[in-house]
């Protein structure tokens, strides 16, 4: 392989790594929001899938991509409310509630796809994806400009969200309460904090965020909904969250590590078609399994993670 070629390909690979990291990072943020308040959310995958479908549907019927984004997020938020009520008020097993939502998501999106989206009677707007935004001046910076400042909107939102969430979680009253509720809900309760309210708000916000990750697939990357198009990225997001020790910045870095092999694979396919691509595309999933098996470092979840709170 040619060294100069590799150097020349670098910015492109990095830019697409960032792109592929986007839904993973957003999924991880959704997980961080929920689990910091001690609600485990394995339904992120399902929420993303539903958001991707609803996003496309809304775009199809309104002709507006951004309305699609909002519609997808709200649909996911609705599922999150369901998950919250089941886990927080009814103290359903959180894994079971999450699994049920995931199964429901596969069913409903499959149905909607065949019924409305596979052969639509309406036409999608052109273009039917969110378009890249070149940030003036910054986009001209060599390499950095190509990687960071010529992206599509959800990538930017993800980047901003990383820092906003990091700040909110560790520097604000809301974050302090969220973490308190996730560590020792009874202690928070004795200081007059409404444990249920904090948990509900966080889970709902987590749902909205997961929805943003979902519409990335249909409205930013592809331009329409495909069956099962989220492809396990929600679960990989959870692995990134653990890898990132339940912090937004850590999750972001983890998501980049998960996104990089995919980006390399795409580039390799293009320039070196004789290398079997299957090996590279396996990497994120293998990494996920390794992380979830607890091999990489000791990750300590919030102390009350997954435990319902009994109010007297």
């Amino acid at each position: 392989m040619d060294f100069a070629l590799i150097i020349a390909l670098m910015p492109g690979v990095l830019a697409s790594a960032l792109r592929f990291a986007t839904p993973i990072a957003i999924g991880a943020y959704s997980g961080v929001l929920c689990e910091r308040a001690a609600v485990i959310n394995i339904a992120i995958e399902g929420m993303m899938l539903v958001a991707a479908m609803v996003g496309d549907l809304v775009m199809l019927y309104t002709g507006n991509i951004w309305l699609g984004v909002i519609g997808g997020m709200l649909a996911s938020g609705l599922l999150a409310i369901l998950h919250g009520v089941l886990c927080i008020n009814f103290k359903t097993d959180q894994i079971i509630s999450g699994t049920v939502i995931n199964i429901f998501a596969i069913g409903i999106t499959g149905f909607a796809y065949r019924r409305f989206l596979a052969t639509p009677t309406l036409t999608r707007p052109i273009p039917s994806t969110l378009q890249p935004i070149h940030i003036p001046f910054l986009a001209q910076i060599p390499i950095l400009g190509d990687v960071l400042f010529q992206n599509r909107p959800i990538v930017y939102i993800m980047l901003i969200l990383t820092f906003v969430l990091q700040y909110v979680l560790f520097k604000t009253p809301w974050g302090l309460r969220t973490r308190a509720v996730g560590e020792h809900p009874l202690a928070a309760d004795t200081l007059g904090i409404d444990v249920y309210k904090v948990r509900h708000i966080n889970v709902f916000l987590g749902g909205l965020v997961a929805g943003l990750g979902g519409v990335w697939f249909s409205l930013e990357q592809v331009g329409h909904f495909d069956m099962l198009m989220t492809n396990g990225k929600g679960f990989i997001g959870l692995a990134a969250m653990i890898f990132g020790k339940w912090t937004p910045v850590g999750s972001f870095i983890a998501a980049l590590i998960f996104g990089l092999p995919e980006a390399i694979q795409i580039t390799m396919n293009f320039y070196f078609p004789h290398v079997p691509y299957q090996f590279l595309s396996m990497i994120p999933y293998v990494l996920t399994m390794i992380v979830l098996a607890g091999v990489v470092g000791q990750a300590i979840p919030p102390a009350a993670d997954g435990q319902p709170y009994d109010k007297q």
Binding site: R179, A180, D189, T190, G192, I193
Partner: protein
Amino acid sequence: MTKPPALEARGITKAFPGVLANDHVDLRLAQGEIHALLGENGAGKTTLMNILYGLYQQDEGQVFIGGQEVDIHSPNEAIAHGIGMVHQHFMLIPVMTVAENIMLGVEPRTARSRWLGFIGQLDYRRVESRVRELSSQHSLEVDPTALVQTLSVGAQQRVEIMKALYRQARILILDEPTAVLTPQESEELFQIMRSLAERGTSIIFITHKLKEVFAVADRITVMRNGQVVGSTTPEQATEQQLASMMVGREVLLRLSKAPAHPKEAVLSLENLSVNDDRGQKAVREVTLRVRAGEILGIAGVQGNGQTELVEALTGLRPIALGQVRIGEKTLKETSPRQIMEQGVGHIPEDRQKRGLVLRYSVEDNLVLCTYYQRPFAKGLIIQHEAIEENARRLIEEFDIRTPSARTPAGTLSGGNQQKVIVARELSRPIKLLIAAQPTRGLDVGSIEFLHRRLIEQRDAGYAVLLVSAELDEILALSDRIAVMYKGEIIDTLPAEQATREEIGLLMAGVGGHKTSPARQPVEVN
């Protein structure tokens, strides 16, 4: 008319499934008074306090603050009425700093970001300076930047008090604050309480230690079975009287015991060293023996390696160096269950973390060590009848106050949780009992009972290793006393020769063989 009481409860009644925890309770707390609340385990003290603090709602009865009737539905409202509470089991978040624990719920934001509301920036500096101010005002030593999990129990308690002061509490509820403190720490707490009371704070102080009542209280109220049985002052009462009032019968505050007849060594430690969580040596080359038929007491200020020593002996912590023998067997990477099956009973220091599964029922907790053996299991099948029968017997024998055997252990009163553990450990065939702070949180009647049991076990040929921060308990029970200081056993004395003063000095690291230049490990026999 004189000043209205700071707080008055009238006819408070509260029922839980199967128990009347409070039965028309009246309590008057005068302005600036330290009011001791006594009562046996399960008498309803904590329940009453939780009602005043808004954690529980009373079924009947009224609460008055400064003469005004108030409705308290949540801790928020209690705080707004100037009530602060230090709970029997601490309410601190270990992974957060002191400042974060203190400001939680009343977080100040920086001036610049106040408009952002809940996502404004936390003003750590303001909290820290306010904490330092209160700290010097009340001589309450608290470092706001420390991480709670690194603090000693005494320091954590000061953080709890600081939480109340930070919220400008004028009525302070202290639920068994001294249960986990060393004598020095308790004395410091009393200083703090006195100075707070002088400045007008009214304090409700719950304790099982009668001496403390005489040391700080202005008034005393005694509860039994959910009812107030009387109210008096320290001048009018004696320890013996209070004890009888609490329990409803005569209590022997001092037990007599016959001399020990020790036999072969059951537990032997040779140069045992154990590391703490940070990998520092917490136990240093300890050599000692506990023989069948004797009680060896380990005295020492908490945090001198006793916890790590006990954890190593029960298989909860690896042995760094040296040897432990139980009977003929040498422990080496032995699991807690294998140690248990060697005939070792363990009453752990932290009953909620290590002693019980709080969500499990009392009857299940009573067979936690033996559920897989006959008669509680036949093959893979659990024998519920045997478990129920076992629970019925132990609840009766150990006087565990619980609505039923099926009640989750976590809802029992603190002292009754402790009795569940004691009953479980003493009811199975053991030859060595390792008891760490076994009477922490127990009422005088239960302490008498437990002490009597320990002496009986000894006379029946058990070896008992007793670790206690209560000097009185060590002196009352031990046949030999080993004093632990900075991870070493600095001296071992026969109990009949030991005096309070001498042990007290040794606990502070003054004197002892180990301080001699030779630094030879002392063979204890």
